[in-house]
């Protein structure tokens, strides 16, 4: 498989996970009767929740400062849902315990929910996983649920898959367990097809979630929505010739702020809170900026302060360009090989 094709697969997996999170939380957000999004339901992603003293130390004896679920929903009833999304599982089933350990860390009286008092009455724990691995993971769970794996709170596995008919859908169905919200539970028990088209607005507004994006994808998002945006304010922009450049002064922090405010789950629940980290993370953006510098699109003006000057130029296809740039980089290739997993 070519490196560029591998990038396509990585981008697909990243996007599919994002679509699955958005689709799943909308079961709670969307009000069927009024056909609008409920404003009394809060959705969050990557939020830092503090474990109870009982779980402040993990099985390896390490202290756990916080847990960061992939998805969180706070209902108007004061109840909630926390979950993890898994597009793929490694071939070695021993590693599957890692995912369940993570989920079990959410099965706790956590502090830091986005509500007064920062606690909920009760909450469900959900594993959102791709349909291709659902049966195997269910069997694994059932074989271990009274031993190595155990949940006190309601635990539910929900499978998802993208399918195409005359419309593209994301299909959701419960694999095992019961959700506390009976309305959502009944729908997911029989399976629901969510038309992707209905969510194009949200899909277009949220491009980054709490998982490191493939580098060419992140570079394209930064280039198109931060660098291009800033460059377009320059008077030369409309008359820029193919090889001409516009200098754009920008910083790692500014890129993080722009993407967090405008292209992350912050869109669904804008909060400024120490518990809600900025997504994308600094190290991802730093890596992307290093890449811009190494391929000659930018230069650091003050690397320790994360300031750089980007030389904006017109690219025919921004994503293709960055796939090509990253494909030629031995470091990126080595990383891809490391993560390549035939079972996923």
């Amino acid at each position: 498989m070519s490196t560029e094709r591998r990038f396509d697969d990585e981008i697909d997996n990243y996007s599919d996970s994002l679509f699955a999170i958005i689709g799943f939380v909308n079961f709670y957000r969307y009000d069927d009767r009024s056909r609008t999004m409920r404003t009394d339901v809060k959705v969050f992603q990557g939020r830092r929740l503090t474990p109870s003293p009982a779980k402040a130390v993990n099985g390896n004896g390490q202290s756990v400062e916080w847990v960061t679920p992939d998805l969180g929903v706070l209902l108007s009833t004061g109840d909630g849902v926390l979950g993890e999304v898994k597009q793929s599982f490694p071939a070695d089933q021993n590693h599957w315990f890692d995912t369940f350990d993570q989920l079990m860390s959410y099965d706790d009286d956590l502090t830091g929910w986005p509500c007064p008092g920062e606690k909920v009455t009760s909450h469900d724990v959900v594993l959102l996983l791709h349909q291709s691995r659902a049966v195997a993971v269910r069997k694994f769970y059932e074989a271990n649920k009274d031993g190595r794996i155990s949940f006190v709170r309601p635990f539910c596995m929900v499978e998802y898959n993208r399918s195409n008919q005359s419309q593209a859908y994301i299909f959701f169905r419960t694999v095992t367990g019961t959700l506390s919200d009976s309305g959502v539970d009944q729908r997911l028990e029989v399976g629901v097809q969510v038309p992707m088209e209905k969510l194009t607005g949200t899909y277009s507004a949220i491009k980054i979630w709490d998982s490191e994006p493939p580098l060419p994808y992140l570079l394209a998002v930064i280039w198109e929505h931060v660098i291009n945006f800033k460059a377009s304010e320059d008077l030369k922009y409309p008359v820029l010739k193919k090889r001409q450049k516009i200098a754009v002064e920008v910083s790692v922090s500014e890129i993080m702020d722009e993407l967090h405010t405008r292209f992350s789950f912050n869109q669904l629940n804008p909060v400024a809170n120490d518990r809600q980290p900025r997504i994308p993370k600094q190290e991802w953006v730093q890596k992307a900026c290093d890449k811009l510098v190494s391929v000659g699109h930018a230069e650091w003006t003050n690397r320790s302060e994360g300031k750089l000057k980007v030389r904006f130029t017109r690219l025919d296809s921004v994503l293709d360009h960055f796939k090509e740039m990253c494909a030629g980089d031995p470091a990126t290739n080595a990383q891809l090989t490391l993560f390549e997993n035939p079972a996923s």
């Binding site: 909308n26 969307y30 277009s204 929505h225 405008r262």
Partner: protein, 396 residues
């Protein structure tokens, strides 16, 4: 149209250079006489069309009507505006009517030729951002002067596009409401969307004089997966031809008679479309909304356009042909997700195909009216025409 010296510009008198042999024909001299007389007379916004019609009744001439949208509610800023070798000068303004002189130069037969002509701009009475440029000047003024000048004012000035079906309906309405016995197409310039090899597609221009009836011509173009760039037709009864009129995909009308009717039946409906499009395309940018939410548009098709995966490839290829833009393919099969940047002003869009019958256009942080118009125009020209609407999503 005249060539003038600097001192003569306020009261233009024809002064020809040796390189302007074409202008020295008796017909041109006659034309200049009536043009000069026309410009010396006073015209008002309510009487301009009648005054132009009177000229057409007595002279061999054409009037061109060019509807356009403008980001401002005035075109006074055209005054002293230069675009290339073209400069406009405001001669007079009376309420909604502006009169401009346009000085321009171009190479003709190896010689640099300087010329001058005039055009009027009439603001639409109901839609303050919609205007109609009118000129009685000959083709060279229109082709070498006025059209490049107006096109060069993009994105402040927006010409429109008339969909194929609508063009046909406009001509049919013109015929039926005027009770004209026959309309014969005398000249047509069409673009056929041609398949070239496996995936690439290009739009092939063709010019023909099919002498066809309206129904035959439109059906022929439809069958050949194309659209009319311009169409010229004769209107007549059993005995004589009443007028020769042409209308382009940009809604530009040329008429040698029946001007008032052409204005009412073609130009005013196109003005309404311009107004509706400006309204539909306005405030679509995410930054225009306090919560940064999206405001998508949909292009709907009558048939299951995307039932075959090959259609995804056709659309992607058509979009990749877009000039002065970046087109990135995030997903191409089985659904389509593209990211598009418009390098004219930095507008950005996501394009989705998730239904056999629909393309969804999601404007990003910055999405100007001209950029939205350009991208939709491109889809219509290079892929297929559909019906535009605001898209309401966010449900499941």
């Amino acid at each position: 149209m005249t060539s003038t010296t600097k001192s003569q510009q306020d009261h233009p008198v024809a002064v020809y250079s040796d390189s302007q042999e074409r202008l020295q024909s008796p017909r041109t001299v006659k034309a200049l006489n009536f043009l000069d007389a026309f410009y010396r007379a006073k015209h008002g916004q309510d009487g301009l069309l009648a005054d132009l019609s009177a000229v057409l009744a007595s002279e061999t001439a054409d009037v061109r009507l060019i509807p356009f949208g403008c980001e401002q509610e005035s075109v006074e800023w055209f005054d002293q505006r230069c675009k290339g070798n073209r400069r406009a000068t405001l001669v007079e303004r009376k309420d909604r009517l502006y009169e401009f002189r346009l000085d321009f130069s171009f190479k003709h037969a190896g010689h640099e030729t300087s010329q001058t002509g005039r055009f009027f701009v009439l603001q639409h009475p109901d839609y303050p951002n919609v205007f109609i440029a009118l000129t009685l000047e000959p083709s060279v003024f229109f082709d070498r002067g006025l059209m490049p000048f107006l096109s060069g004012l993009y994105p402040k000035v927006l010409l429109t596009f008339v969909a194929h079906k609508r063009l046909r309906r406009l001509i049919e309405d013109f015929k039926s409401q005027g009770n004209y016995q026959k309309i014969i197409i005398t000249r047509a310039s069409q673009r056929l969307r041609c398949q070239n090899g496996s995936n690439s597609e290009h739009v092939m221009p063709m010019v023909s004089w099919p002498n066809m009836s309206l129904t035959e011509a439109f059906e022929w173009v439809r069958q050949n997966n194309g659209w009319f760039q311009s169409i010229e037709f004769e209107i007549g009864d059993s005995e004589r031809t009443l007028a020769t009129i042409s209308i382009t995909r940009q809604g530009i009308v040329k008429a040698n008679a029946l001007l008032q009717r052409a204005y009412e039946m073609f130009t005013l409906p196109v003005c309404k479309t311009i107004h509706e499009n400006i309204t539909l395309f306005s405030r679509r940018a995410r930054l225009a909304r306090p919560d940064l939410s999206t405001s998508p548009l949909a292009i709907e098709f009558d048939t299951d356009m995307f039932s075959e995966v090959e259609e995804n490839k056709r659309l992607i290829q058509a979009m990749r042909n877009m000039k002065t833009a970046s087109v990135s393919v995030l997903h191409g099969n089985p659904y389509v997700h593209l990211s598009v940047l418009d390098y004219f002003d930095g507008s950005a869009f996501d394009i989705w195909v998730l239904d056999y019958r629909r393309i969804i256009l999601v404007p990003q942080l910055k999405a100007t009216v001209p950029a939205i118009k350009r991208i939709i125009n491109h889809v219509f020209d290079d892929y297929a025409e559909g019906k535009l609407s605001s898209y309401q999503g966010n449900g499941q």
